[in-house]
């Protein structure tokens, strides 16, 4: 069904074209991206390990100091409707939003790359079957089914990650299939096969490294869109639960206080935007690197 659109996308190479534009012209971009990436990674680590009693700080209520504006004494980003510190909640929320999105990306990637590799080395009927599966999954209204899954199976970090992950894998499969078939016909793979290297080893040590750069680009972009969906679902009330400082639920809470404390929207909004923009930047940068490599290999 979507062959026409595939042809349209292939002929004009949407993704690289998007990626090539403007950020590549920024000076210092690589340094900035690396610094921002490392900083974010540290924040994630701090949040996951609960460093410095972060969770306790994030959930400490003080009803005498509710809805303080940003810059209030002791609360850099102000406090929410229960007097909890917004900055601390955002930091603690990394563990939910970021990790759920990462987990969903991992699930989608494992399914997608696995099926893709299977289709690359498998017989024709496997390839056809995988192709049908991709078409089928793309035709699903993914968010609709994710909502239904979370709503029925009950809320939780893992449920959310699974519900999103199982519908976001086709782009991994497509890339794996397209790139993998290109690598599979290369001489070093044929040579390995002639030497009697097992099929599994060929997949893991010959084909997978060859497609890894492209996969990493897709991973970055998929993570970005999965993070938007993760926060979106918990904004709708299908997140990990009440009172949890997940960024999407924080937005929903902020919405309830919007007339009295509009600044509460800024924190979670910025946190989501920061992470997504960073992931997109990294994706762009990786794509630029992949293209540069290919060019130098061609010439």
């Amino acid at each position: 069904m979507s062959q026409v659109r595939d042809a349209a996308a292939n002929g004009r190479a949407i993704a690289p074209a998007v990626a090539r534009r403007p950020i590549a012209e920024w000076p210092w971009r690589r340094i900035i991206i690396v610094v921002a990436g490392v900083l974010t990674a540290l924040l994630v680590l701090a949040s996951v390990s609960g460093w410095g009693g972060l969770d306790e700080l994030a959930s400490r209520r003080d009803l005498s100091r509710r809805l303080l504006p940003p810059g209030a004494e002791g609360h850099l980003l102000g406090t929410d409707g229960l007097g909890r510190d917004t900055l601390m909640r955002l930091l603690a929320g990394t563990r939910y939003t970021f990790i759920i999105a990462a987990l969903a990306t991992l699930i989608a990637g494992s399914i997608g790359i696995g099926l893709g590799l299977l289709a690359v080395v498998g017989p024709a009927w496997v390839r056809a079957l995988v192709g049908r599966l991709v078409d089928l999954t793309i035709a699903f209204p993914s968010l609709v089914l994710a909502i239904v899954m979370v709503g029925i199976l009950g809320r939780g970090n893992l449920t959310l990650a699974i519900a999103l992950g199982v519908f976001y894998w086709p782009s991994f499969t497509r890339v794996t299939l397209a790139q993998g078939r290109g690598v599979e016909v290369l001489q070093y793979v044929s040579a390995a096969r002639l030497f009697g290297v097992s099929r599994l080893r060929i997949i893991l040590f010959h084909i997978l490294p060859g497609i890894a750069p492209t996969i990493s680009v897709v991973t970055a972009f998929q993570f970005a869109s999965l993070l938007i969906s993760t926060a979106g679902l918990s904004f709708l009330g299908l997140g990990p639960g009440l009172g949890v400082p997940e960024w999407g639920s924080m937005l929903a809470e902020a919405r309830a206080e919007m007339t009295r404390a509009p600044w509460l929207l800024i924190g979670p909004g910025l946190a989501i935007a920061w992470t997504v923009v960073l992931a997109n930047l990294i994706g762009d940068e990786l794509a630029a690197g992949t293209r540069a490599n290919r060019r130098s290999a061609d010439s």
């Binding site: 659109r5 035709a139 209204p141 609709v144 909502i147 239904v148």
Partner: protein
Amino acid sequence: MAAFVDRGLSVLKSTGLLSLQLVSLLLVTVTLLFFLVRLTGDPAVVLSGESGDLDALALLRTKYGLDQPLYVQYFSFLANAAQLDFGVSWVEGRDAIAIVWQRIPSTLFLAATGMAMNLAISIPLGTFLGTQLAPRMRKALDVFIFVMQGVPGYVVALFLIQLLVVKYHFFPSVGNESGLSWVLPSLTVASFLAPKLARVIAVNVSEAMQEDYVVMARAQGARYSTQVIRHAFPNAILGATALIGTQVAGLVNGIIITETIFGWPGVGRLLLDSVLLLDFPVVQAVVVLTTIMVFMVNWGTDRVIEIIDPRLKREARA
């Protein structure tokens, strides 16, 4: 005559293939739904609510056929689903499918206005970004769009509400009653899509500006605006059709969230409400109808793309 018959056969074949695809898609969807609902445990318990009276449970089981073996339930569910009969809403007591039908027009309206808004924003913006005009402004807009690509539509919506509804009372915030209430929801739907589309159009326009036919037009002394609008743009938008098609097919995702934020009485909000209330008949009806609609839209979009750019049909076949 033979050509006519050939053509008729090929239409028949493609229609058959299409319905086969739709049927298999729906079969998978319905099966998934059936077992998802059974995973939650005994639907009779959900139905009876808190009361948990044993007699009431038994009565409910007989009434909804829940005392039958699982495979009997599955096949009768399939048979009913094939007739678009999902039973009666557990909350409203009306036919589930009728409730959904009622909501579809306003969702389609939002989809149409949102997509129109998306095109109205990204076509001029993308074309401008693809030109050589006003370098500083272009650069600033480039960065702005790149950042906007990272700001989800629901965040945009909340800021719009804060600014235009709460602060300046420009628009009503909820519902779809008054004349202007469609503006903010459509803008929100568009904000999910416009940044990406604008960037793709920009790339395509700037590439087309290097092509021979534009160079030729330039050499013949065409004005800059003519070069861009008459020569570069038509080819650039052709390159964006694939993305526009994908966006049309994916509209439903943005619409669900938008409807919920703005209290728009469409299918998306109905889905969320009925999921939260565990109103399974309505949930099932929504999922099946959206699956059909998305499938139709997908198919229609592909046909439109083919009409716009017939080369793709040959490519897809090859």
